[in-house]
Every structure is written in C-alpha cells, then in structure tokens.
Symmetry: C2
Subunit: 185 residues, 2 copies
Amino acid sequence: MSRQQIVAGAADMIRRRGLNATSIREVAKHAGTPLGSTYHYFPGGKDQLATEAVRWAGDAVSGVLTAKLRKGPVDGMKAFFTLWREVVSENDFQAGCPVVAVSVEETSGREALAAAAEAFTTWSGQLAESLRAHGVTPGRADRLAALVVAAAEGAVAMCRAQRSLQPLDDVATELTALLASAVRT
Amino acid sequence: MSRQQIVAGAADMIRRRGLNATSIREVAKHAGTPLGSTYHYFPGGKDQLATEAVRWAGDAVSGVLTAKLRKGPVDGMKAFFTLWREVVSENDFQAGCPVVAVSVEETSGREALAAAAEAFTTWSGQLAESLRAHGVTPGRADRLAALVVAAAEGAVAMCRAQRSLQPLDDVATELTALLASAVRT
DNA sequence: GTCTATACGAAGATAGAC
DNA sequence: GTCTATCTTCGTATAGAC
C-alpha cells in the first residue's frame, strides 16, 4: 500500500534534489512511514529504491509517449516537451528529470544507472519507431529520436539553472520544424 | 599556487560524481593539501568552491568555442561535440559535464547555480553570435544555439547511462546537417 | 599563514523490542 | 510484520597548535 507511495515520493525528491541529496530518512518521513519500513520493503537499500523510482518515472513518461504518438511522431514529440515544461514550471524551476539526475551522479550500486539507461532507450525507441512508421529511414529515425530526447533533457537542466523556460521553448520550436520536414520527405 | 589545483580537482570530481558526492575532504586529499587549507582559500565553503569550479570549467569550454568558431558556426559546433565526446570516452563513461551536475542537484547556497546558468548562457551566446554573423536571423540563431547546447548536454548524460557514444554521435550528425543548411539559407 | 585535531550533525544500514 | 533505537562512517566547518 505505502510501497507505491514511497517509490513515488523518492522519484519526486530525486528529480528535485538529485540522488545523493535524497536520503532514505526523508523519503520515509515524506511517506509517513518509519525508517525501518523502507528497508523492509526495499531490502536492497538505497540502490533498490532509486532503481524503482527511476523505473516508475520512466514508465510514466513512456505511457504518455505511447498515448500521444498515436497521432504521429510530431505530436508525440510535442507532448514530450509539454510534459517537461510542466514539470519545470509547476515546480518553480526546482524540479527536473530524475533519470538525468541518476545518470549524472555517482551511486554505490549500479542498478539504478541501468534503469536510467533503459528509460532513455525506451523513450527514444518509441519515438524512432513512430518516425519509421511515418516514412523516415531507420538510421535517421534513430538519430532524430536520440536528438529529441537529448535536447529535451539538456534543455530541462538549462531551464533550471537559468530560471527560464526559454531553452525548452526554443528547442521545441526547432525540433518541431525539423521533425515535420523529416516525416514529409 | 595550489588554489588552482584545488579548483581544477573539484571540477573533475564534480563532473564524475556529481556535486553532493564531492566532499571537500576528498578534494583536499586529491590536491595533496590538508583540509584546513581548503577553508583558508575558500572561506565561503563548499558553495564558493563549487562556484569557482563551475566557472573554471565554463571558461575552459568557452575558450575552445572562441577558437573554433573562427572557422564558422558549424566547425564550432563540431568542436563542442568533439570536446564532450572526449570527456566521456576518455573517462570510460564515468565523467560528464560539471555544469549539468550542479544544475540538477540541490545545493545549500545558490551561487554555484548562478555560475552554471552563466556558463550555459555564455556557450549558447557564442554560438548564436557566430550563426548571426553567417546570415542566420537573430531569433533562429538563438534557438539553434540553445538546441546545440541542450542536445550536447543531454547526450552526454545519455551516453553515461548507456555506456555508449551513440547518442552523442547521432545528435552531432543531425545537428551538423541542420546548422549547415541554416547558414546556407 | 599552515595544518592538526575535533565538534557536531546526518547519512546508510541493522538489531531487536513490540 | 512494524517500528524504535543504535552502530558506524562520513559530511561540513572551525578552533587553536605550530
């Protein structure tokens, strides 16, 4: 019951503070459960909790992509950027992507890092498949999909530092034009 | 004399481990100076040290950009990607961009975050100016410059997680074509 | 002015009481 | 099975000996 809450809370704290600044103590407090419960649910300790948090966040984004890509790759890409735009703006530039946070910080175990890699692969794979389905050659579909994910993630970091949504909006504008022209070719 | 070494060492550790996993203790040990010296040189504590480390890294990248942009925006962009490719590959996927690390993690003080914002602004500003000088309209120059920086930074994070240089190479390929076509227009 | 020694708090993790 | 209390280590920061 509270297991899900702990994972969601950990994902939220990681995307705000980063992985190392997210202590199991505060995750437990935030979820209203004692510290011992966390280790009961997650005997693998912090690495296991971080791994599940990354997977949880990755699946959430992947679900949005699945839904929005039905209208085509350009709509999917736009939804991807809208999603990150909301995360950044609704948290007053104090939240970003937990997958990036885990990718950039050193962690004792490496399961969480593998989960981060899987999230990136899933997202770009979904975008690439949609691009191929709309006439883009496989090689270029992979490259464009990687570009979309990388640019969005990088833009989120820039927006946080600059306290401005401009990078995210600028990048979205350029990529919308680029993908629209690619599917048309 | 050792001040510079401490700053450079801190920047190196931050890009590998992240900001919060970089302790002043280990920075001092790595520089061969006692812990007290660190606080003698940086009375502002960790925030000051992180701020100078970010500025140091930002200036180093900016210097490369200044040099390579003389041959035009496409060459500058390529050099930017080559630089990050070397950082990632020469450190066996265990190093990235310290500016992103600081942008993504929570910090006690906020001077370091301001330094990160300044680094991003400087880099994209340099690229945008070069694009304008080569006939790109101001608005689009800004957007393309933001895209280049965001995509490179995001790709670095993806490369680390996936232990592959593919994202960086894919992104560089697409952006080379995009910028080449933009300056030609 | 440099560095040793230490204060103080918080981290991850576990043992064992209920 | 849940939670409290505690062990150990490491973090930032400083006081004061050379």
